[in-house]
């Protein structure tokens, strides 16, 4: 491992932001302040954080229905995202999109997506565009284990493989697609084996180890940037909350839940940073408190922002 200290600290802060953001969303949702469906990323922070840490600001990501973490990791603003979840005019989508459609194209965030697997072909398009415009931008395409059973997975990755497009597919295998155990939906040990169908490199990493994710994705990003085509990286991780808020999670065996609690990506990273002498417990405590303030600010921003006018629903169909 050979990562600058600042980057490690940034990654820690990002993971804490995601965790605290999501925990607050959970609360605000329970209080009825957030309408619609929300899918939280708690437990999976290392994957999005490590992956996005390997990107430049002008690189792209495509996200999923479980996208808040990806957005924060790519540098998205928590206040505008929170405002969007509240349905406010100051939100990322002026209240038109909500959790499943958060996007910030200025930051290369090409959108959460309510259709499982739909981001995969879009990512190929962004990569194609980057190449055609003569840039060396790279695209990370986030997708779930469940999404890897969709036809878009096959078509989208094959096209990127044939054209050697600069995409890194980060498959976040959190063991479930809704209530379905993902192992009931394919007959493989590692989903990354599916890369063999396209002739592209595959890697399987501990998705709860932010450094491992970062390093694996960085190699793939550099390859992609150098014109050597796409890679598929499977991050093994776990979703701590329900599929959506309100899901009683009767389908998860208790031992499994216990086991994964021990693998908490933030706790483990905090310990590791202390061991490495990068951040003391005091330091991390300070960061945690700073972030708590940011979250409060984000919620305040959301609460104080106005709702859009109903008639503004008529705008933004066409340019």
């Amino acid at each position: 491992m050979n990562i600058e200290k600042d980057r490690l600290i940034d990654m820690y802060r990002t993971m804490v932001r995601i965790r605290q953001f999501e925990e607050r969303v959970s609360k605000e949702f329970a209080s009825g302040n957030i309408p619609g469906f929300v899918h939280l990323y708690i437990g999976e922070e290392a994957s999005g954080t490590g992956a996005c840490a390997a990107l430049r600001p002008d690189d792209y990501i495509t996200s999923t229905h479980r996208g808040h973490g990806h957005v924060i990791a790519k540098g998205g603003r928590m206040d505008r995202m929170m405002a969007e979840l509240f349905g406010k005019k100051t939100g990322y989508c002026k209240g038109k999109g909500g959790s499943m459609h958060i996007a910030d194209t200025d930051l290369g965030i090409l959108g959460a997506n309510g259709i499982v697997g739909a981001g995969i072909p879009l990512a190929g398009g962004a990569a194609l565009s980057a190449r055609m415009r003569g840039t060396d931008q790279v695209v990370i395409c986030f997708l779930g284990d469940g999404a890897s059973n969709r036809g878009t997975f096959h078509e989208g990755i094959n096209l990127a493989a044939v054209w050697q497009l600069p995409v890194v597919y980060v498959l976040e295998n959190n063991l479930y697609a809704e209530k379905t155990r993902i192992s009931d939906t394919y007959k493989l040990t590692n989903l990354s084996d599916r890369a063999g169908a396209f002739g592209i490199p595959e890697v399987t990493v501990d998705g709860n180890d932010v450094i491992a994710v970062y390093e694996a994705v960085q190699v793939a990003v550099e390859k992609a940037r150098a014109g050597e085509g796409p890679s598929l990286i499977e991050c093994k991780t776990y979703r701590i909350h329900g599929h959506f808020e309100g899901d009683p999670q009767t389908y998860k065996p208790a031992e499994e839940v216990e086991e994964w609690k021990k693998k908490d990506p933030i706790d483990n990273f905090r310990k590791r940073l202390a061991d490495m002498g990068v951040l003391t417990d005091e330091d991390t405590g300070a960061i945690d408190r700073e972030v708590a303030g940011e979250i409060d600010d984000a919620v305040r921003f959301a609460v104080e922002s106005p709702f859009p006018a109903p008639e503004e629903a008529l705008e933004d169909v066409f340019a």
Partner: protein, 334 residues
């Protein structure tokens, strides 16, 4: 719906989801060829509206088939199974997801026709529709207009638990592809009296949900309830609405609509979908074509604007046709 009155018999009141649940149960018990295929319909979940609850415990993994997230494979498998002797029920969570299995709808369901009448496809597709829970653009559509443009598909849109049960049973018994659409907002507290005895409701038979004399209102699904509440409001001013619920878009009980329009001379169609390309347009055009002389004033469509469905509740409410919109339209032609 029904209000208990002194002296009434004690009746069974069931919700929309439980009424459907009974229909599934009865049809699966009746015919071993019936099975359900879909995502997350099994052991741990009863479906997005709870309509599958308990079925897995009773019928097991052999007849409640949970699939990977592979709607194309699922819909194709349902068609393939239907063509070879089974009677599948394919559960798509939301009608919006049909985009990922649309070739099956547009080009594969037509097997019978393309094969010159050789095959039957006894297939039921289930899908949730509608706004009301801030599910945004990809989880809130109804797509009536889009669906009626597909040939070889019957379309059921119940508005009450009673209708839902009877129509669902008919859909499952039907030897043709049928899509059965359940509105999210009907899954709640609404109940109907459901008889103990078995019953079915034929596809293609409208139900007059309220008799009236001044204006015919054609409405489906959740909009039936909005029409009824608008009717109650207008009644106070002495304007009498007749509310017709066709219950199936294909086949359409045109005669029931024509008969009503002959009586009232006025027609408003309220439909929860963007105006352009709506099913409401089809009803209007049909009445103009075949019952023009009955019309005393222009036919009005009360639809959503031509936009995707917005997320934020205030805009979603604005987008969705409601009583006020309907009342306004009625006043314009009376």
């Amino acid at each position: 719906m029904a209000i208990f009155k002194e002296g009434d018999e004690i009746v069974r009141e069931l919700s929309f989801s439980l009424a459907q649940n009974e229909a599934f149960d009865e049809e699966m018990a009746r015919d071993p060829r019936v099975f359900i295929i879909g995502e997350d319909i099994g052991e741990h979940w009863g479906g997005p509206m709870g309509q599958f609850r308990g079925l897995f415990a009773k019928y097991g993994a052999e007849r409640i088939l949970e699939t990977p997230i592979s709607e194309t494979a699922m819909m194709g498998a349902a068609i393939g199974a239907a063509a070879t002797g089974m009677r599948p029920v394919a559960a798509m969570m939301f009608v919006d997801f049909l985009g990922v299995a649309a070739d099956e709808l547009l080009n594969q369901l037509q097997m019978r026709y393309m094969f010159g009448g050789k095959t039957t496809l006894p297939l039921t597709i289930l899908a949730g529709i509608g706004t009301g829970v801030s599910a945004a653009a990809q989880h809130s559509k109804s797509l009536f207009g889009w669906l009626i443009a597909i040939k070889g598909l019957k379309i059921v849109v119940p508005s009450t638990p009673y209708d839902a049960k009877g129509l669902l049973k008919s859909a499952i018994r039907e030897d043709n592809p049928v899509i059965f659409l359940s509105h999210k907002m009907l899954g709640g507290r609404l109940t109907s009296e459901i008889p103990d005895e078995e019953y079915t409701i034929p596809l293609g038979k409208a139900d007059i949900k309220r008799e009236g004399t001044d204006v015919t209102v054609v409405a489906t699904a959740f909009m039936v309830h909005r029409a009824l509440s608008a009717a109650a409001t207008l009644q106070e001013e002495g304007i009498s609405l007749e509310v017709i619920d066709p219950r199936t878009l294909v086949p359409l009980d045109k005669q029931a609509i024509f008969d009503s329009v002959r009586k009232t001379g006025r027609l408003v169609i309220i439909s929860e979908e963007p105006r352009t390309g709506s099913w409401a347009a089809e009803v209007s055009a049909t009445v103009v074509e075949e019952a023009f002389d009955y019309l005393d004033s222009p036919i009005k469509r009360v639809c959503a604007p031509d936009t995707p469905v917005p997320f934020t509740p205030g805009q979603e409410k604005f987008w969705t046709p409601d009583e006020d919109d309907l009342i306004k339209a009625v006043r314009e032609i009376i």
